[in-house]
Amino acid sequence: MKTQNFSKKLDYKEALEAASRGMIMVHDPQLLIKMIIRMIVYRLKLRHAGMIIYSPEKKEYLLTISKGQTGHRIPQGFARFNQASPVIRVFSDPRFRPLFQNKHAILWHEMNKMIWQEGLLNGHGCNPEVRDILHQVSDQMDLLGVVACVPAIYHDKLLAVLLLGEKQSAEKFDTEELSFFGALASDTAMALRNAQLFDQLRSQAQHNHDLFLRMTMSLGAAIEVKDEYTRGHSEGVTRYSLAIAQEMLKDEKYPFDEKFMEDLYVAGTLHDIGKIGVPESILNKPGRLTPEEYALVKRHPVDGVAILKPLSELERSMAGIRYHHERYDGGGYPDGLKGDEIPIIAAIIAAADTFDAIVTQRPYRPSRTPQQAMEEILKNRGTQFHPEVVDALERVFRADKIIVVETLKREEE
């Protein structure tokens, strides 16, 4: 008997430590709680055990985890507990706190004693309302086949209740076991609270992020309204750019992450935003531009960055906007950057930009086929364009259907 107790003690310590460690790390504590409850049922040979957990959306407590023998185990997903449920009330109402503070739990076998012993509740024992609730708790525990309820409270808020069925041996829980449950419940409360906070933050961040992406799209739409010949151009450039980047990812040299892809999306959508400052008469001019007019058009990468400057979220996309007219041989604008001085995001947009421009009808010339666009870009590989970007585009062009889809779309229009 002695040795058994000793090993039991070790089990708890180990399990508790593992639980706390795990609880802090997981964002979704449910799985962990499930494992712990299964372990409790198995190690202590309980008929069943379960956890009712507060759902912030439903504003109710749901029995989401339940383990143990059929017939004893409360069916999972079957029952919910609202604020009026006795076990919820007893743990939410501070008047009852002295009942379970020391033992960490409400024990069914002490319940009846408690109800009749006056003064146990710091003088509330004779209050008929209190007595009535205790009766209901006792009744509910009996119906659920639960001999102990352990509350998980965090900052006065009841987040969960651990429901424990009887041991198969019908032995009562000892002090050590109860204090283990208490510690476990308080870890659980903390983990649930963290998970809720994390969810809130995540949904808020998601919301902001969606708003940001939608604003990017409407900014992109602004320039398209003005320059009718480039309608759909930003979208095309973005699509080709993403396809090129995806292809380049296959090369270890370009470990683009999700963030990069998003920056590329934003930069592709907004790369021509600076054209808002160029008069429509120039943008839509059918003939050749005069040197003065051309100089105005060439300002758009710098103007674009100036327009977007107040949006600090766009900072990482700025390079794609500012440098998308640089040439690999250094002959581009606005800064005359050369080779690898040109940020890769801009080099990708440059190739995609040219590709889309060629296959699109312009005021000064009709559109050409994707095949012609590809040939034109290959001709300028290593001079105007980054060679590896061109290679990736060519692979995409040979394999991917995106471009065919684009052609079809244009033919339809």
């Binding site: 997903g77 079957f78 919910r80 609202n82 449920s85 119906l143």
Partner: protein
Amino acid sequence: MAKLLIVDDEIDIREFARNYFKKRGIEVFTASGGGEALDVLNEEFPDLILLDVRMEEMTGVELLQKIREAGNPVKVIMVSGIEDEETINQAHSLGITGFIHKPLVLEELQKVVMKELQEEA
């Protein structure tokens, strides 16, 4: 003693509900599906049926239809996790005492069941 028949294809729910209502002094029968339920109905005369809607062999509504076709006016409370308007209407047109959605509040279920059984007694 009041008699209650629980029809549900989930053994956990059947057995839990059996124990739950037994503690309330009710005689409980269970059936895991429509066929079994009809067999029970041939031998016993429950005062109330708790009937799950979504079951493999025969849906709760189909079973209810068979019960009514046989001219059995027994009280039925449907229990369901789905909120399908059509199913609810269909069940109501066949004559039911109530429709309870899972997850349910046990005390509320108990209250309804006790009320119906007491009326019967």
